[in-house]
């Protein structure tokens, strides 16, 4: 545990770091410092997170009663569509890579910055350009096609599909640029002595994520181009009356959008590896297995897209193949869970907030992952496909997995990012609220789904109401759990106790520099002589904490 020093507003000796190196709007908007860009991203995605959350609350309010009593069917359809688009493309995909990844990768590698700092800044501007189109589409009336944009519905729709598609198309390039930057950085910018197998698992996970970003996103881009041609010219290649095939769109779409869910969960797994190691002070059990399981998930992720289409009239043979391959994703996921659990054995386990999030993550990820087995089982998927069972499954992975890990990571690295500690009591409370609220929101949806409530329904049969009320009640608790960190994080920036350079202690290079780090990250390039996750007294004290006067 940290001996949290009293909140003192004045530091013992003012030190120059990346936050106070220079001031003013211009110094932020034109920065090429990866740490500042990470904070710019943090601001952007937080806006979209709460926007998407607002849509979600509207959905849950509408579903409180079986009848459509708050909004029209069209308004409801726009709600779930925009909730999906905003949360997936503008929050989940950039969340961990663009914020924590951007901030930490160079620090973990002992580099001064990412390989292409200007491209890094460009990616943030590209993200915002896409965001402008998307916001325009939302304000101009929204989109009602579902985030999946299935043809021919999305071609016939009179809503703002085109600007929304342009927004997603542009936003994709920010994802590509981030991935490209990470891969080059990991290959060429490692500090002396930092071999591949000394890298933190966070870096391995981001490497795998980046592979998906660069290989998958362009396919979505070209699919959107083809969809745009179809909308604008009224003639396209998914048009059944021309002899085209609407199901081809689904193939192209899921070729990216299934790997995309691994863009959301792989970095989260990387964060969890860091947390489990740091708070049990042990090397991750089976380090190389966990490292390669990330790559395995990235590779298999490209071979399973057809499991979204078992009832879409694709052939029985294709269904068999995709079902078979889908089970291969389960193995590396299971390997990770077992290795994390084994890491705890004979460790020194603390119950700090980030670790609570890690525990929560593992529990929810087991449920989320194993319900994936239900959906990959052909005969069962025929029944649960397009029901609330699917909705519950992917929320367990994306919210119970990715968002929990994101929050856990934010708490863990907050002292490094801001140089301040957050209030531990409030943080524990919010972790608990998120966990309880989340389960109450989404567990009933598994039951709803198996009973047959289809997804994207504005009105539903009366006998589904009990579970829907539970779900809505949970969502309100979840909302409180999400707003709390926002409040105390902002509070801690001013009033939080000053953090040490290595408060937990962590083992990575990011802890071998002051908090917050200087603009160039390290006073001199570190030379690495130890393996990942070597928790010893000497290691934790390696960086001279006396400099911080604590």
């Amino acid at each position: 545990m940290i001996e949290a020093t009293e909140a003192k507003l004045k530091q013992v000796e003012p030190r120059t770091h990346y936050l106070n190196a220079n001031y003013g709007i211009k110094s932020w908007l034109l920065t090429i410092d990866h740490k500042r860009i990470a904070l710019l991203y943090l601001a952007s995605i937080t806006v979209f997170f709460f926007l998407g959350g607002a849509f979600a609350l509207m959905i849950r309010l509408e579903l409180l009663t079986p009848k459509g009593d708050i909004m029209t069917p069209d308004a409801y359809n726009k709600m779930f569509t925009m909730h999906g688009i905003v949360m997936i493309f503008f929050f989940l995909i950039p969340a961990i890579p663009a914020v924590l990844g951007n901030f930490l990768l160079p620090l973990m590698l002992g580099a001064k910055d990412l390989a292409f700092p200007k491209i890094n800044l460009l990616s943030w501007y590209v993200y915002n350009l896409g965001a402008i189109f998307t916001l325009y589409a939302i304000i101009a009336g929204g989109v009602d096609t579902g985030w999946t944009f299935y043809t021919p519905l999305s071609v016939n729709s009179t809503s703002q599909v085109t600007p929304m598609a342009v927004g997603i198309f542009i936003n994709g390039f920010s994802s590509i640029l981030t991935g490209l930057n990470f891969i080059v950085t990991i290959h060429t910018m490692r500090a002396p002595g930092l071999t591949w197998f000394r890298l933190p698992l966070f870096v391995w996970a981001h490497y795998a994520t980046s592979l998906i970003q660069i290989l998958g996103t362009p396919v979505l881009a070209v699919t959107i181009v083809l969809l745009g041609i179809e909308r604008i010219f009224g003639v396209g290649i998914f048009n059944a009356s021309l002899g085209g095939d609407p199901v081809l769109f689904q193939h192209l779409f899921w070729f990216y959008s299934h790997p995309a869910v691994y863009i959301m969960i792989l970095p989260a797994m990387g964060v969890i590896s860091e947390l489990i190691a740091a708070f049990s002070r042990k090397k991750i059990f089976g380090y190389s297995f966990v490292a390669f399981s990330s790559l395995a998930i990235a590779v298999y992720g490209f071979l399973v897209w057809g499991h979204h289409m078992f009832v879409s009239s694709q052939s029985v043979f294709a269904g068999m193949v995709f079902s078979f391959l889908s089970y291969f994703v389960a193995i590396p996921s299971a390997v990770k869970v077992f290795n994390w659990t084994a890491t705890l054995f004979k460790g020194s386990i603390s119950w700090d907030t980030p670790m609570l999030y890690a525990f929560g993550f593992i529990g929810l990820f087991i449920i989320g992952g194993m319900t994936g087995l239900y959906l990959a089982a052909l005969g069962l998927d025929v029944h649960v496909h397009d029901t609330y069972f699917v909705v519950a499954h992917f929320h367990y992975i994306m919210v119970g997995g990715a968002v929990m890990a994101y929050l856990g990571g934010m708490h863990y690295w907050w002292p490094k990012i801001t140089g301040r500690m957050y209030p531990e009591g409030w943080a524990k409370l919010s972790a608990l609220l998120v966990f309880i609220g989340f389960n109450l929101t989404f567990f009933p949806q598994f039951l709803l789904g198996y009973q047959g409530m289809p997804r994207r329904y504005h009105e539903y049969a009366d006998h589904f109401q009990v579970l829907n009320v539970m779900s809505t009640a949970g969502a309100s608790i979840l909302g409180v759990g999400y707003v709390l960190p926002m409040i105390y994080f902002i509070w801690s920036m001013r009033y939080g106790p000053i953090a040490k350079a290595n408060p937990w202690p962590g083992s990575g290079l990011e802890w071998q520099t002051s908090s917050p780090p200087p603009t160039e990250n390290f006073e001199e390039t570190p030379t690495v002589t130890w393996d990942a996750y070597e928790f010893t007294k000497d290691n934790s004290r390696r960086y001279d904490v006396v400099k911080q006067g604590s």
């Binding site: 069917p73 029985v316 119950w351 593992i362 005969g379 997804r455």
Partner: protein, 356 residues
């Protein structure tokens, strides 16, 4: 167990088992739920136990490092792999049960459109958003759509299939008890997606017969198809005596035919549909690609009538005259409300009275 029953009354865990496959699907589900509970509880308890047992007691504890173990890794790669392969095999076998074509089914034709289901019985009765079927028959739905993708879903029967523009899809089930079962559209299809719902009403055979005799709206499907067949002048090429430019259609349905381009094709609903809208896609060996396309000239419903007619010719020998069509009565079945039809996009109007 008692608790389970208590919960079951408050929140049913599964919809009613209304078809022959429902139980099979539920058993797979029960197996997976047990598996999830087992692993979920086992891992959570292990984590909780470790977290308590090895909790940090002082701030300068630095435990010894443990590297990992290849034996354990092999174990927890091997066992999950074996388990998921069992699930795969089990899921696939259930899938085959659900998708294997049934023998001697009762054929019902379905058209989905925004936002309603139209059903046509073989004897010509039409229904909107309600489907009456008899107990003791396998029911096969052959489905087409007039606009976007829909998906017909009956939770109690554990069946679902998308209805995709440009092709016909089908599902089947065998009801095992009478009752009224909810039917949903499961593929998001626009504004009133959640209103595209209805009921499947399973009746005793006698009751079903009584319902049927309540009226057939204007001739059986096959006889309507026969009328169309002559109105569209199909019979000028597809002559019964094999003298036309196209093959005679009697006795062909369900058979396998050699193709001009090599290979064979089974003459099924989808092949007949394709042959009407894309005549040149798969030409039967020995014929020239001279048939024009009827895309846009026949509606999705008329296509289904033509298919039903050609299917009815399937049992005949070439040269035998088709007969035995149902006597049309004029009364409407009470269930079928006249549907509000939207005007169709301007397509060349065929010289066929649209029976609505």
């Amino acid at each position: 167990m008692f608790l389970f029953l208590l919960l079951e009354n408050w929140i049913p865990f599964a919809p009613e088992q209304g078809s022959s496959v429902a139980e099979t699907v539920d058993w797979l589900y029960v197996f997976l739920v047990s598996l999830t509970i087992f692993f979920g509880v086992a891992i959570s308890l292990t984590i909780f136990y470790f977290a308590m047992r090895y909790r940090r007691r002082s701030d300068d504890e630095y435990p010894d490092s443990i590297e990992g173990s290849h034996k354990l890794e092999a174990l927890w790669i091997g066992i999950p792999f074996a388990i998921v392969m069992v699930i795969f095999w089990w899921g696939a076998s259930v899938y085959f049960t659900v998708f294997r074509q049934p023998t001697d089914p009762l054929d019902i034709y379905v058209v989905g459109k925004q936002w309603m289901w139209k059903f046509q019985h073989p004897d010509g009765q039409r229904e909107i958003n309600e489907l009456h079927v008899p107990l003791g028959r396998r029911i096969k739905l052959t489905m087409g759509t007039e606009d976007v993708i829909h998906s017909l879903f009956v939770p109690a029967f554990r069946v679902k299939a998308d209805v995709v523009p440009g092709k016909l899809t089908s599902i089947w089930w065998e009801p095992i008890k009478t009752g009224k079962y909810e039917l949903y559209c499961a593929e998001y299809c626009g504004t009133k997606h959640s209103g595209m719902i209805g009921y499947v009403i399973v009746q005793e055979p006698a009751e079903y017969q009584a319902w049927l005799s309540g009226g057939a709206g204007g001739g059986s499907l096959a006889s309507n198809g026969e009328k169309l067949f002559s109105q569209l002048a199909c019979n000028s090429c597809h002559k019964t005596d094999q003298s036309g430019r196209g093959p005679a259609l009697e006795g062909r349905f369900g058979k396998s035919e050699a193709l001009q381009a090599g290979g064979t094709v089974t003459i099924d609903e989808n092949y007949v549909r394709e042959s009407i809208v894309n005549p040149r896609a798969k030409i039967v060996a020995g014929y020239d690609p001279v048939m024009p396309t009827f895309q846009g000239l026949v509606s999705e419903e008329q296509l289904l009538q033509l298919i039903a007619y050609i299917k009815s010719l399937g049992d005949k020998k070439p040269g035998e005259l088709p007969g035995g069509t149902a006597t049309p009565t004029t009364a409407q079945p009470s269930a079928a409300k006249p549907a509000p039809e939207q005007p169709k996009p301007s397509t060349p109007t065929p010289a066929v009275p649209n029976k609505k």
